[in-house]
C-alpha cells in the first residue's frame, strides 16, 4: 500500500507539473460556472414569479444542485479521457515502464497507485464546483446531505470511468489513441440508457442497468442505494483487474 501511495504521489506530481491538470480544471470551472450562473438566474426569476402568483417555495436542491451535479458528471465524461490517456501510454512510450516493472513493486500496486492519482485529480476537478455551490449554502438553505451523496456518486462514477481509461491506456503507446478510445467507450456506457428509454423488454432492462448514468440518478436525488454503489465498485474492480491482466500480457508479448 505504501508503494501504491508512492506512485499516486508521483502521478499527481506529473499531472501538476504539466498543463494537463490546470487545463482540465480550468475547462471544468468555466463550463460549470457558466451553467451555474444560468441555473441560478433562472431560479431567481422563477421564484419571483412563483411568489407573485402566491405559490409555495421551491427547493434549491431539486432545481439547481441536482441537475448541476448530473451535468458535472457529463463534463467529466469529456475530461476523464484527458486525465487517463497518459497513464500507461506515456510510460510505455518513454520506457519508464521498465523502471516500474523491474522495481520491487507488484503490478497491482502500480495500477492502484496510478488510478488513485487520477482519482485524486478528478476529485480536485469536481472540487472546483464546490466554489459555485458554496455560494448557495452561503445565501440559501439547501440540504447538505443530498449534496454530499451526489458528490459521492460523482466520485464513484468517475472512479469507474478512470479505471476504464487506465485499462485502455495500457493497450497503446499512443496517448491520442488511448484518449479517443476511452472517450468512445465511456460515451457508449453513457448512452446505453438512451437506446433503451422507450421499451421495457428484459434485454433493454439489462442494457439499461449497464448504463453508467442510470445508477447516478439515485445519488443525484440524495438516495444512497447499495445497488448503485456495488455497481460502480464492481465495474471499477473489473477494469482494474483487466488492467493487471493487460499489463501482464505486455510482458509476454513485447
Amino acid at each position: 500500500m505504501t508503494n501504491a501511495l508512492l506512485i499516486c504521489r508521483k502521478e499527481l506530481r506529473s499531472y501538476f507539473a504539466s498543463p494537463i491538470a490546470y487545463a482540465v480544471m480550468a475547462i471544468f470551472a468555466l463550463i460549470f460556472g457558466w451553467t451555474f450562473f444560468n441555473a441560478s438566474r433562472d431560479f431567481v426569476r422563477f421564484t419571483l414569479l412563483q411568489s407573485q402568483e402566491g405559490g409555495g417555495p421551491i427547493s434549491v436542491n431539486d432545481q439547481i444542485i441536482r441537475p448541476l451535479l448530473g451535468f458535472a458528471g457529463t463534463i467529466g465524461l469529456f475530461l476523464i479521457p484527458m486525465i487517463t490517456m497518459r497513464v500507461f501510454a506515456e510510460e510505455k512510450r518513454t520506457g519508464t515502464i521498465e523502471l516500474l516493472l523491474t522495481s520491487p513493486v507488484s503490478d497491482l500496486e502500480v495500477i492502484v497507485g496510478k488510478w488513485l492519482g487520477a482519482l485524486t485529480l478528478y476529485a480536485c476537478v469536481l472540487g472546483m464546483s464546490m466554489l459555485n455551490l458554496g455560494l448557495l449554502f452561503l445565501w440559501g438553505k439547501p440540504d447538505l446531505k443530498p449534496t454530499l451523496v451526489g458528490y459521492l456518486g460523482l466520485l464513484l462514477q468517475g472512479g469507474c470511468l478512470l479505471a476504464l481509461g487506465t485499462l485502455i491506456s495500457t493497450m497503446t503507446k499512443n496517448q491520442i489513441i488511448a484518449g479517443i478510445a476511452t472517450f468512445f467507450m465511456a460515451l457508449l456506457l453513457w448512452l446505453l440508457s438512451w437506446f433503451t428509454a422507450f421499451d421495457n423488454t428484459v434485454t433493454s432492462q439489462v442494457v439499461n442497468y449497464m448504463s453508467i448514468v442510470t445508477h447516478f440518478e439515485n445519488f443525484g436525488k440524495g438516495v444512497l442505494d447499495s445497488k448503485d454503489v456495488i455497481f460502480y465498485l464492481s465495474l471499477t474492480f473489473l477494469c482494474l483487474f483487466l488492467t493487471a491482466r493487460s499489463l501482464e500480457s505486455l510482458r509476454w508479448r513485447s
Binding site: 508512492l6 519508464t96 523502471l99 516493472l101 523491474t102 522495481s103 513493486v105 509476454w252
Partner: protein, 331 residues
C-alpha cells in the same frame, strides 16, 4: 551470482534468444557482446524480471526470476538502453522517488541519494529538471538510479551509448570502481569497451551463444597466427612487386602475402604466418639479403574487433567455430 540455463525467448515469429547458458561469479564485470539485434537486451530483460523466459531458467543470487521475482528485483539495479527518466522531475527528486521505489528506508534515503550523486558526479545538477539535462548527464542520472539501493547485481544495457569520449572514460572508471562489491553485466557493441572494463566476455549472435571466455584468452586463442606489416624500399629505382612478393613468400613460416600499397619506390605488404610461427626475424633477413631497404616491420595484432568479426562471421558458415574449439582443446 547469476546463473542462466538453457534460456530461450521466443516472440510471435522470431526466436530472440536461443538456448543460452552461462554463469557469472560474484564481483565480476562481464561484457555482453553482440551485433544489434543479437538478443542482448532480451536476455537482460529476462534477468531483470521484465520479460518471462519461454524456456529455461535464470537465477540471480539464488532466486529464480519466475518464482521469486520480488527477491530478484530487490537485488538488481538495471539501466535500460534509454534511461527511464521522468523529464518533469528534478534530479534529486527523481533519485528519491527511485530510492523509495527500491524500498530504501526513509532514514537511509538522504544518505544514499547523496552518495550516488557524489559517485556519478551529479552535484552540479541535483536541483535541475531532468528535461533540461544533456544526454551524458541523463545517462549518469540513470546509472545513479540503478545503483541507489546498492544492488548485488548491476545490469547495464549499453551504458556508454551516445556519450562523448570523455564521458565514456568517466563511466568506465565508475564501473571499475563499482566492481568487486557489485557483479556487473554490461552489454555493448563497442568492443574496445569490453577490452577496457570487463573480466569476461560473452559473445552472442542471432540469439545463440558464440563464445564465453576471459578477454585475454579470447585474444590469444584467435591470435594463433601472426600478421605482420612490411614496408620495403628499393634503393634507386622501382622494385618489381612480384619479385618482392615471391621472396617474402619463400621465407620460412609464411602462409600468405598480400600487397597493400605501393608508392614511388616503396611497397607495403601484409604477411600472415602459419599457426604458431614467429616470422618477423626471417622476413627481415629475406628483405635485407635481397638488397632492399626495410623501412618498417611490425606485428599487426588481432584486435577484439577482428576476433568478434571472425566469431560472428564464423557462425554463418558454421564450420569454423568447431575448428576454433578444437584448436583450443588441443593447445
Amino acid at each position: 551470482m547469476i546463473k542462466v540455463e538453457g534460456l530461450t525467448k521466443r516472440y510471435a515469429r522470431t526466436v530472440a534468444v536461443d538456448n543460452i547458458s552461462f554463469e557469472v561469479a560474484k564481483g565480476q564485470i562481464v561484457g555482453f557482446l553482440g551485433p544489434n539485434g543479437a538478443g542482448k537486451t532480451t536476455t537482460m530483460r529476462v534477468l531483470t524480471c521484465f520479460l518471462p523466459p519461454t524456456a529455461g531458467s535464470a537465477t540471480v543470487a539464488g532466486y529464480d526470476v519466475l518464482e521469486h521475482p520480488m527477491q530478484v528485483k530487490r537485488r538488481i539495479g538495471y539501466l535500460p538502453e534509454t534511461p527511464p527518466l521522468y523529464p518533469e522531475m528534478e534530479v534529486r527528486e527523481y533519485l528519491r522517488f527511485v530510492g523509495r521505489l527500491k524500498r530504501i528506508s526513509s532514514a537511509d534515503l538522504g544518505r544514499r541519494v547523496d552518495d550516488v550523486t557524489g559517485r556519478c558526479a551529479l552535484g552540479d545538477v541535483r536541483s535541475k529538471l531532468i528535461s533540461k539535462l544533456s544526454k551524458g548527464y541523463r545517462q549518469r542520472v540513470g546509472l545513479a538510479a540503478a545503483i541507489i539501493h546498492n544492488p548485488d547485481v548491476l545490469i547495464l544495457d549499453e551504458p556508454t551509448s551516445g556519450l562523448d569520449p570523455k564521458q565514456i572514460i568517466e563511466i568506465r572508471e565508475l564501473l571499475r570502481s563499482l566492481a568487486g562489491e557489485h557483479t556487473i553485466i554490461l552489454s555493448t557493441h563497442i568492443l574496445s569497451e569490453v577490452e577496457h572494463t570487463c573480466d569476461n566476455v560473452i559473445i552472442i549472435n542471432q540469439g545463440k551463444l558464440v563464445a564465453i571466455d576471459t578477454v585475454s584468452n579470447l585474444t590469444n586463442r584467435l591470435r594463433g597466427s601472426e600478421s605482420v606489416m612490411v614496408e620495403v624500399e628499393a634503393p634507386g629505382g622501382h622494385p618489381d612487386p612480384t619479385q618482392v612478393q615471391q621472396k617474402l613468400e619463400q621465407a620460412p613460416g609464411v602462409s600468405r602475402v598480400v600487397m597493400k600499397d605501393s608508392k614511388d619506390s616503396r611497397l607495403r605488404f601484409e604477411v600472415e604466418s602459419l599457426q604458431g610461427r614467429h616470422i618477423r626475424a626471417d622476413l627481415a633477413r629475406a628483405v635485407v639479403n635481397s638488397g632492399w631497404g626495410l623501412n618498417e616491420l611490425h606485428a599487426a595484432g588481432l584486435s577484439l574487433e577482428d576476433i568478434f568479426l571472425q566469431l560472428t562471421a564464423a557462425e554463418k558458415h558454421s564450420a569454423v567455430p568447431a575448428e576454433a574449439a578444437k584448436g583450443e582443446s588441443q593447445q
